[in-house]
């Protein structure tokens, strides 16, 4: 009996190991995840359909998804704090944004400073607000950028180079031809070529990929891609910030609500600061009221030259 006891125990142990391993394997291969309590999504949208719809247009300076990422938080804020249902409306070009506004397809629109300043008759449009910069002024610059490894250090070296620009209806798309080159005694003819792209970020990618020697974009876009190897070569003079413009035919209560809600935001107030910091950097310092004359004055020389 004693002689077979040890083998019996060993066999029993092996059997025990086998059975437990089998059970463990069954449990191990059951990878089904437990039911997770489902989150409740935002309920704001439930009430918006009952409110009067206000469409807000945006010039096509960015790709549609980038525009939504940058401007939808402002719509969300207006929907939360306002009494209407604010909705973004894209445009296919800068001019299209102006046309939609004038034609009543949108009630207000984020326009470019250049195109607003160059409107022949802008009496029907009313600037509501424009974003502030770090100096607390509503100004921005266009900047000439190139790759970090490029030998380009000034505008005067652009001779014979390929330059990428954004929309010809934007300040960034015009500064070089109207001011930048002339200041150093060059003209467009001295360049190898100029090519306009729809969006600022497309200009950046073209430069980073080496397709162009330099380009002009908004300074906020240049700052965003600085860590990706983009270097600023020159900076334009300051021009008024891109305005949010309303149409005079729109109910003034609507425009007043938009103006009030945007201008009340105070970057020094903690709650407002938290909200603004969640927005795109271009709008993270709040807004200020602007006047049409600021834009007319800023682009008067150009207008006179045209």
């Amino acid at each position: 009996m004693k002689r077979i006891l040890l083998p019996i125990i060993i066999v029993a142990l092996v059997a025990l190991v086998g059975v437990t391993n089998f059970l463990v394997l069954e449990d191990l291969t059951d990878i089904s995840t437990k039911t997770v309590p489902l989150a409740v999504g935002p309920t704001t949208g439930d009430d918006l359909s009952d409110r009067p719809l206000v469409r807000i247009g945006v010039v096509s300076r960015f790709a549609p998804n980038v525009i939504y990422a940058g401007y939808q938080p402002i719509m969300d804020y207006l929907n939360h704090e306002g009494t209407r249902h604010y909705e973004l409306q894209l445009s296919t070009s800068y001019q299209d944004a102006v046309d939609r506004l004038r034609q009543g397809q949108v009630d207000a629109s984020f326009l470019g400073a250049w195109i607003f300043g160059h409107l022949e008759s802008g009496e029907d449009l009313l600037p509501i607000a424009a974003p502030l910069n770090e100096q607390g002024r509503s100004e921005f610059h266009a900047v000439l950028v190139t790759r970090a490894a490029s030998d380009l250090t000034s505008i005067s070296q652009l001779e014979g180079r390929k330059v990428a620009l954004p929309s010809p209806q934007s300040w960034s798309g015009n500064w070089l031809q109207t001011n930048g080159l002339a200041d150093v005694g060059l003209s467009v003819a001295d360049l190898d070529s100029i090519h306009h792209f729809d969006h600022h970020q497309t200009v950046v990618w073209q430069i980073l990929r080496g397709n162009f020697d330099a380009g002009v974009v908004k300074e906020s876009v240049a700052a965003k891609f600085r860590s990706e190897g983009l270097r600023t070569v020159a900076v334009s003079q300051a021009i008024p910030g891109p305005p949010l413009v309303g149409r005079r035919g729109v109910d003034h209560v609507v425009l007043e609500e938009i103006s009030r809600l945007l201008l009340v935001l105070d970057p020094d107030h903690p709650a407002d600061r938290r909200l603004l910091e969640s927005w795109t950097p271009e709008f993270s310092l709040g807004f200020t009221a602007v006047d049409r004359r600021q834009y007319q004055d800023a682009f008067q020389p150009e207008r006179a030259n045209r």
């Binding site: 004693k2 006891l5 040890l6 125990i9 060993i10 142990l13 190991v17 437990t20 391993n21 463990v24 394997l25 191990l28 291969t29 990878i31 089904s32 995840t33 039911t35 997770v36 489902l38 989150a39 409740v40 999504g41 935002p42 704001t44 949208g45 790709a63 549609p64 998804n65 939504y68 990422a69 939808q72 938080p73 719509m75 969300d76 929907n79 973004l88 409306q89 894209l90 296919t92």
Partner: protein, 499 residues
């Protein structure tokens, strides 16, 4: 059932069982904990990957939905093409479904017919505000990892993207790793047990060698055999066993010396007991010699008488000298030696020594010695000492004019010597103690109490036995049995051990 009846009693089996069981349990627990932890990581990684893929795909989908929202083009065909291309580029994808915020299907892979959804109902899917991945087994059999990604820009919802990825490969990977780890654990455990078995075999082999050495140790061997040298604990055990052997040998030598001293002391004590009889035996011839000297002095010229008395004096001196010679022969501390002994010879020698003591008490000694007894292998001196002790005890036990009978005989290969006295006998309560050292019924100074104890030791050392029967007030009989020896081939003496 008792535990001791289940657990093997062998040291090797018990160690192997204990270590094997412990190692198996530890390896199993380690393997399982590693596998469970690894499974968690794998599932989490798969979910993360699925959500990353979903997010990547959602960028294009949101763009398309935005364009559709802006009435720039119809999204259905555009997105359907997206879905098909994406499915073709990702073989693990099983299904893609794009829902608008109202829950209507905008686009989906052609071979998917949902609902039911794995994650929850359509209403629940539309309310999810963060990516959610669920793994489950579909009713059709295969396992799927379904990821639900709410597509939002700020608070603007574009709908829900649902991606189903096959999850059977996860299970296969888990099973493969389990097999690998289980095999590794078994191999490690088996290897460890094999190594342990080999070590135990070597260790127990050494112990068995030690046990064998202990069983076969020869204390008479010179020098004492030394076990093989080892550096480990077994070697220490060997070394200390050798030291113990030496100490036992030393103790044995000391004991033998002490024993011989005791024997010699007891012999001297027996001589003391003989002294009174011997003194009388010597005194008689001395008195005769003195009388002869008086007679010679009284008639110095009588040469015939002088010659006659001188002969008588010589005879007396010869007798006294013989007595002293016998006494010295008994008292001399001789070197012990084994040899063939006819037991009748020491009996007769002792008879001659105690004849004076017998005569003083007028004791009748009947000698019934069987002639031609087989020889025994014995130390004659020691056997003679035993017989002397028994006869003196018998003389002390009987009254004046008492009776003692000494008989020898051969029976069943043994030589038997009986000493019977018709004395006062031994009390029943004392008969079990008479062989104890220092037990005596005599008065102080008349006995050492060692005589019978030493006699028993001597007889037993010769391979024999010493017994006693007694009837108080009637008689006492001591019986010595010694094995008869065969000295025909001359080997018996060499093979006998010294007592």
């Amino acid at each position: 059932m008792r535990v001791s009846g289940v657990v093997p009693q062998g040291l090797r089996a018990r160690i192997l069982l204990t270590v094997g069981l412990t190692a198996t349990v530890i390896m199993m627990l380690m393997s399982w904990s590693m596998l469970y932890s690894w499974r968690g990581s794998l599932v989490l990684q798969e979910k993360t990957n699925a959500q990353a893929v979903s997010r990547a795909f959602s960028v294009a989908v949101i763009d398309a939905l935005i364009f559709a929202d802006q009435d720039l083009f119809q999204s259905e065909g555009f997105l359907g093409n997206y879905v098909d291309l994406f499915m073709a580029q990702n073989p693990r994808l099983r299904a893609i479904t794009i829902l608008d915020p109202a829950g209507s299907v905008v686009a989906r892979s052609w071979h998917r017919t949902d609902p039911p959804w794995v994650t929850g109902s359509l209403e629940e899917l539309l309310r999810i505000d963060r990516p959610l991945s669920t793994i489950t087994r579909t009713p059709e059999g295969p396992w799927v990892l379904e990821t639900v990604l709410p597509m939002r820009t700020g608070e603007r919802g574009w709908g829900v993207l649902v991606l189903a990825v096959e999850a059977d490969s996860i299970r296969h990977q888990i099973r493969r790793n389990f097999t690998l780890l289980a095999s590794f654990s078994m191999a490690v455990t088996s290897g460890m047990l094999l190594l342990l078995w080999l070590m135990l075999s070597r260790l127990l082999g050494s112990l068995r060698a030690l046990v064998l050495a202990m069983d076969t140790v020869d204390f008479t061997a010179r020098p004492i055999p030394v076990l093989p040298y080892r550096r480990d604990e077994i070697g220490t055990l060997y070394k200390h066993f050798h030291i113990m052997q030496q100490r036992v040998e030393q103790s044995r030598d000391d004991l033998m010396k002490a024993q011989h001293q005791v024997w010699h002391a007891e012999r001297l004590a027996a001589i003391g007991r003989l002294a009174s009889g011997l003194a009388h035996e010597i005194n008689n011839p001395l008195n005769g010699i003195r009388n002869c000297i008086y007679a010679i002095r009284a008639d110095l010229d009588n040469r015939r008488q002088t010659a006659e008395y001188l002969d008588m004096m010589d005879e007396g001196l010869t007798h006294a000298s013989g007595v002293i010679k016998k006494l010295l022969g008994f008292a001399r501390k001789q070197q012990a030696g084994m040899g063939p002994v006819d037991i009748n010879e020491p009996v007769e020698a002792v008879q001659r020594l105690v004849a004076f003591n017998l005569g003083r008490k007028k004791i009748t000694l009947e000698m019934n010695l069987e002639p031609d007894l087989p020889l025994v292998s014995a130390d004659r001196q020691l056997i003679q000492e035993v017989i002397m002790n028994l006869l003196l005890n018998a003389i002390d036990a009987v009254q004046e004019s008492g009776f003692i009978r000494v008989a020898t005989l051969s029976r069943d290969g043994e030589v038997i010597l009986e000493v019977n006295d018709r004395g006062h006998g031994i009390e029943a309560g004392q008969i079990d103690q008479i062989f104890d050292p220092f037990f005596t019924t005599k008065k102080a100074g008349e006995g050492t109490g060692l005589g019978l104890s030493i006699s028993l030791g001597i007889v037993q050392a010769h391979g024999g036995s010493l017994g006693v029967t007694s009837e108080p007030g009637v008689e006492t009989t001591f019986t010595i049995s010694l094995p008869a020896a065969d000295f025909e081939d001359g080997t018996e003496v060499e093979e006998e051990t010294k007592p």
